[in-house]
């Protein structure tokens, strides 16, 4: 086993442990922190795959921005008064999990592994230049549409929060 494979199993295993903790913790703040740890570990996996840009953005956007807001809301809503688990939610949750599992089964059964000669990506793969190239030249229209969508969401949030402008 190469050191890269050992690293993958250690980081991947820890990511699984923390993602299980997200679900099985009773304390919501602990769950949120476990999710932050999971996101961080997945970012490390991206780093080992020559995708430093994606890994760093994963930390910057998900762990650094979105989860902070989640944590904010959880803390201000006081998780101590959350009600107990309900059977209906258990059923729905299990159904969603089963659906995901069916999606994953073909991937898990496919044991062919990576084709030979494709061990490592080419030079410059995952670099900011390459990402910018595809975002601002090849897919510039979808990119702009997505940013307009975000703008609409921001304006909507302002309108909802401030009744009289």
């Amino acid at each position: 086993m190469t050191s890269a494979v050992i690293l993958f199993f250690v980081v991947g295993g820890l990511a699984i442990v923390f993602s299980l903790l997200v679900v099985f913790q009773r304390n919501v703040v602990h769950s949120a922190m476990a999710l932050v740890a999971t996101l961080f570990l997945v970012a490390v996996l991206f780093l080992t795959l020559d995708a430093a840009m994606v890994g760093i953005l994963q930390i910057l956007v998900y762990a650094g921005a979105i989860m902070v807001l989640f944590l904010f809301v959880i803390m201000l809503l006081n998780p101590a008064v959350l009600e107990g688990r309900r059977l209906a939610w258990w059923g729905l949750g299990s159904l969603a999990a089963l659906l995901l599992l069916f999606e994953l089964i073909p991937l898990l059964l496919d044991s062919s592994g990576p084709a030979s000669g494709q061990g490592s990506a080419g030079a410059g793969f995952g670099s900011p230049e390459m990402l910018a190239q595809s975002l601002f030249y090849d897919f510039v229209l979808p990119f702009e549409i997505a940013s307009v969508l975000l703008l609409v969401a921001i304006i909507g949030a302002v309108v909802l929060a401030k009744r009289e402008l």
Binding site: N27, I56, G64, V68, L76, S127
Partner: protein, 371 residues
């Protein structure tokens, strides 16, 4: 010993060197802050430390006595607080402050025994983004510490602190875009190298000359990120006591404290690297000094590298001192003023700076725009 073993050894030595420099400077700053504030306010300052009745070393005694005092104090966890998160929070506050330094170059290439050593712990092609991602993790120490203390003053301080940090992160990120556009890279070592060139034959191409507005915005936002006066709203003696670390004592408080000083050092090092040439000495090339008015002085390689590292250290210490000077000279803002400054002044100015830089780059570009 194989080649990879030597490589791993070199990286380990570099990491240990940078970490010890960062921690030592952070520790020294705690003392400089006391004596410096005394100097600014015309007092004598800390001079009463005596260890086992020995006060002979004077100032050095204070430097030793401070950590001993913190480490021997009782570690108090609020009975209704969250034990796990209360202990985790100081680590979360210290970790980002320490790892950010990994991508900051402290010298050019050192050639030792035919081996080229890049004087930077990790050379990431997304260096600047790495710094911002680590800075964005700094919020957790505050939020988690504030919540785990189970104290309303703590929580208020934590909410204030995180709102402030998220606001100024945006302005800080945008203020650096100009630098990235001018030097056309996200790698900090490349940015430092590009600043070795000269403009009009004599002016070093430092960030401060190419991006003066960017420097002002970045430095302001960086001071706000360290949560010190005039931006120390997460604390407030008259309203919310010590804010998010009101329930912390002993070694855990020391960790928050060290994290703050490590942030100061990192902010100073970043300012140096982005705007003041990093390890560059004006007119110093790899083989010696070449003055624009003719004449050159050839220097041995080791001396050149030593000069670069020493000058980098000097610049960093200067900007640390500047931050301490700011902290003891200015009165603190009100909270709404902090928010208004961040969102209504710094953010629009940073956007205008990006626009103007883009227009100027396109206007002065001789060839066609790159594909």
């Amino acid at each position: 010993m194989t080649a990879t073993m030597i490589d791993i050894g070199i990286v380990a030595v570099k990491a240990a060197l940078v970490l010890s420099m960062l921690l030592n400077l952070a520790g020294l700053l705690g003392w400089i802050e006391r004596k410096g504030s005394a100097l600014i306010q015309d007092r004598i300052g800390a001079n009463r430390a005596s260890i086992f009745g020995f006060a002979g070393l004077g100032l050095v005694n204070t430097l030793i006595a401070d950590p001993i005092k913190f480490l021997t104090k009782e570690d108090f966890i609020p009975p209704k607080g969250d034990r796990l998160l209360h202990t985790l929070a100081p680590c979360l506050a210290l970790f980002p402050a320490l790892v950010t330094f990994a991508v900051i170059p402290f010298g050019d290439v050192l050639v030792l025994g035919g081996r080229e050593i890049n004087l930077q712990v990790a050379n990431l092609n997304v260096g600047i983004l790495y710094i911002f991602s680590m800075a964005s993790l700094g919020v957790y120490g505050i939020v988690v510490g504030a919540w785990a203390s189970n104290n309303k003053f703590s929580l208020l301080g934590g909410v204030r602190g995180s709102a402030q940090m998220i606001s100024y992160e945006i302005a800080m990120g945008l203020s650096v875009i100009g630098i990235v556009m001018v030097y056309e890279t996200l790698e900090l070592q490349e940015i430092a190298r590009a600043q070795g060139e000269v403009l009009w034959g004599w002016l070093p191409a430092w960030g401060i000359f190419l991006q003066p507005v960017g420097f002002l915005l970045f430095f302001t936002a960086a001071v706000a990120e360290t949560k010190r006066i005039p931006f120390d709203l997460p604390e407030g003696e008259s309203e919310i006591v010590a804010g998010y670390h009101v329930e912390y004592s002993g070694a855990k408080f020391l960790m928050f404290f060290t994290g703050e000083f490590a942030e100061i050092v990192t902010a100073a090092a970043l300012t140096t690297t982005l705007f003041f040439g990093g390890w560059q000495v004006p007119y110093l090339m790899r083989d010696g000094l070449h003055f624009p008015w003719g004449g050159s002085l050839l220097l041995p390689h080791l001396l050149v590298v030593l000069l670069q590292v020493a000058v980098f250290g000097l610049k960093v210490v200067f900007f640390c001192w500047l931050q301490i000077l700011v902290r003891w000279s200015l009165p603190r803002f009100r909270y709404d003023q902090v928010m208004r400054l961040g969102w209504k002044m710094l953010l629009p100015l940073a956007l205008v700076n990006v626009m103007v830089t883009a227009v100027l780059i396109v206007a002065f570009q001789s060839g066609p725009v790159k594909p």
